[in-house]
């Protein structure tokens, strides 16, 4: 049981970290760029919001399999196999939770507008400097929401995990799968412990986020 909990936290934590690193430049680009085809990228990023997780998992499984071009390349060059491994789960989770991290950060960047960046430019700050010292701190609430949503969403994913991860203890057996297993085997008490824990944990996470946001809101408005 603890194994599944730790694995889930590890997966969600790693996924959130990767998403913050990848999602921030993507969100910045989406917030600032004016080209028409940015909307295509935008739609692709948002796709996991509406796509059935099993469909996403199915295609990921196809792309990752050693018989496919990409999967074969990864296997031959790096010796990496993604299906039914923890690494594969991370890749799937990153794609699945992408919109939950990118959208709040993008909204936060857009809310800042161009004025503070122009002010910073007149105060001798280079583009990178103004991004780091003005855009990032001002977009803090967006990062908080993005991180919390991305983390929680990864903890709760089921369909994608089932398709590309299977049910290997210590490798791909995350909480949601474990709960499903317990229910299938009519182990109600174990299912109760895990589900109740998830419920309480999720509530605490969201509650903490709102408290922090409220505090920041007081400071900045």
């Amino acid at each position: 049981m603890t194994e599944a909990i730790l694995l889930t936290l590890k997966l969600a934590g790693l996924t959130t970290l990767i998403l913050l690193l990848v999602g921030t430049p993507l969100a910045w680009w989406l917030a600032r760029n004016r080209t028409w085809w940015k909307e295509i990228i935008n739609a692709l990023v948002a796709l996991p919001l509406v796509l059935p997780p099993t469909v996403l998992g199915f295609y990921l499984l196809l792309v990752m399999s050693p018989q496919s071009a990409l999967g074969g390349f990864l296997k031959q060059t790096f010796g990496i196999t993604l299906p039914f491994t923890f690494e594969g789960l991370v890749v799937g989770s990153v794609i699945y939770s992408l919109p939950f991290v990118v959208q709040p950060i993008r909204n936060a960047f857009e809310a800042i507008g161009s004025a503070p960046m122009e002010v910073a430019a007149t105060l001798r700050a280079s583009p990178l400097d103004r991004f780091l010292t003005v855009a990032l701190p001002l977009a803090r609430p967006g990062f908080l929401s993005g991180a919390v949503l991305g983390f929680a969403h990864t903890v709760g994913e089921f369909g994608v995990v089932l398709m590309i991860g299977g049910n290997l203890p210590g490798e791909t057996k995350v909480l949601s799968i474990a709960i499903y297993d317990h229910v299938e085997s009519l182990e109600w008490s174990q299912a109760h412990i895990l589900s109740g824990g998830m419920l309480a944990g999720s509530f605490l996470l969201i509650f903490a986020m709102m408290l922090i946001e409220k505090r920041w809101g007081r400071l900045h408005r």
Binding site: E118, V119, A121, L123, R124, L138, R221
Partner: protein
């Protein structure tokens, strides 16, 4: 003589800018014109916030833009004060002030500059405050101090008072006048408010629809009959005078102006100092002779130059001070009835009775200025 040279000719969005000017790098130059005339666009082009291809811009011989060369905003030695103060919400006042200083290479610790400027702008007690706790006027004062602390070589101000209500405006104007008297760098001040121009500017660049309509010294521009200033209902004359002496008994200072002298209440400083005076056209009346005694101290011989219709029911008579009309221009607001009953005509000798001349703030003009009239006025 160091100058700011600018030539902007081209399309910015759906707006066409076509200006070519050189201004001396001292004093306040007002970029004046109605909304949508291109003032802000021009200022943004000078700051490098907007890029107009093919433009040329240099300060003191250093090229900021020419051909393909385009110095990005953060490399230009400017200070910029925006309409909205634009303080960083995530930093307190002190950190807002030091943000630009550190990046401009001005030491924050071992300089009294910060303290002195904070004192001058009246923000010393606010340094540790959060930005959201400040009033609109306080924020704009912090923004001005933040721009100045970088020791810019050019200060650009884009309608810094327009976002403020009247109380905040009145609160901040004295600080600006104070600054004006002490600053040694050139200021480009964008505004559409004639009163701000009268109080702050040394020179005016008049813009209309992206074109430079006229430019010149403040005194000369306000009196030009072909510009909207002189024919305004509440027109004013701005002139510089040199302090001749102070009469302790009556508490009156005598000022030498071009074409005569004026007596003004209060001591204005040591002899020889130049002071700028503001005389409302409605405070000037005309008399055929000095036969009758009057409580009005300042009665100067003048010659009528032009009679201008105004936007109101009265007329503005443009005079030139002196027996032969050899001195400064002066505007007098008179009724149409008076003009007809006194049969006032251009070229006529007359006496101007000046009821009140107010000093412009604590303004000491840095240099003697000559009010040479442009040929336009003689036409």
């Amino acid at each position: 003589m160091s100058t700011l040279n600018a030539r902007f000719n081209g399309q910015v969005g759906d707006f066409r800018l076509n200006v070519d000017f050189a201004i001396p790098t001292q004093g306040v130059t007002a970029l004046f014109g109605p909304s949508g005339c291109g003032k802000t666009t021009l200022l943004r082009c000078i700051a490098g916030l907007t890029r107009l291809p093919g433009a040329e811009l240099s300060l003191n011989g250093d090229s900021w833009q020419q051909g393909r060369r385009f110095l990005p905003t953060h490399k230009r030695p400017i200070g910029y004060v925006f309409q909205e103060p634009g303080l960083f919400a995530h930093l307190n006042v002190m950190k807002n002030l030091s943000y630009g200083m550190r990046r401009a290479g001005v030491k924050t610790e071992d300089s009294n500059e910060l303290g002195e400027l904070a004192e001058l702008m009246g923000i010393t007690h606010l340094l540790q405050r959060q930005v959201h706790a400040l009033s609109g006027g306080e924020r704009q004062r912090v923004a001005i101090a933040r721009a100045l602390l970088m020791r810019p070589k050019l200060l650009l101000m884009d309608e810094p008072l327009s976002a403020l209500d009247q109380d905040n405006k009145n609160e901040i104007l004295p600080y600006l006048e104070q600054l004006h008297a002490q600053l040694e760098i050139p200021v480009l001040y964008v505004t559409h408010d004639r009163r701000e121009v009268e109080r702050l500017a040394d020179r005016i660049l008049l813009l209309r629809e992206g074109e430079l309509l006229a430019q010149g010294e403040i005194g000369e521009m306000l009196a030009r009959p072909d510009l909207p200033f002189a024919s305004a209902r509440d027109a004013v004359t701005v002139l510089d005078g040199r302090v001749l002496h102070f009469d302790v008994r009556y508490g009156l200072s005598t000022l030498q102006i071009d074409g005569g002298t004026l007596e003004v209440p209060d001591t204005l400083g040591p002899t020889g100092v130049y002071k700028r005076l503001r005389i409302a056209a409605t405070d000037v009346s005309l008399a055929q002779s000095l036969d009758h005694a009057s409580t009005i101290l300042n009665r100067l011989p003048a010659v009528i130059w032009k009679i201008l219709p105004t936007d109101g029911s009265s007329l503005n008579v443009l005079l030139r001070i002196g027996n032969m009309g050899e001195g400064s221009a002066l505007l007098a607001s008179v009724t149409r009835k008076s003009v007809e009953s006194m049969n006032l005509q251009p070229g006529q000798s007359i006496y101007a009775q000046i009821k009140g001349a107010s000093l412009l703030g604590s303004h000491t003009t840095p240099h003697p200025r000559q009010h040479r009239m442009t040929p336009l006025l003689n036409s």
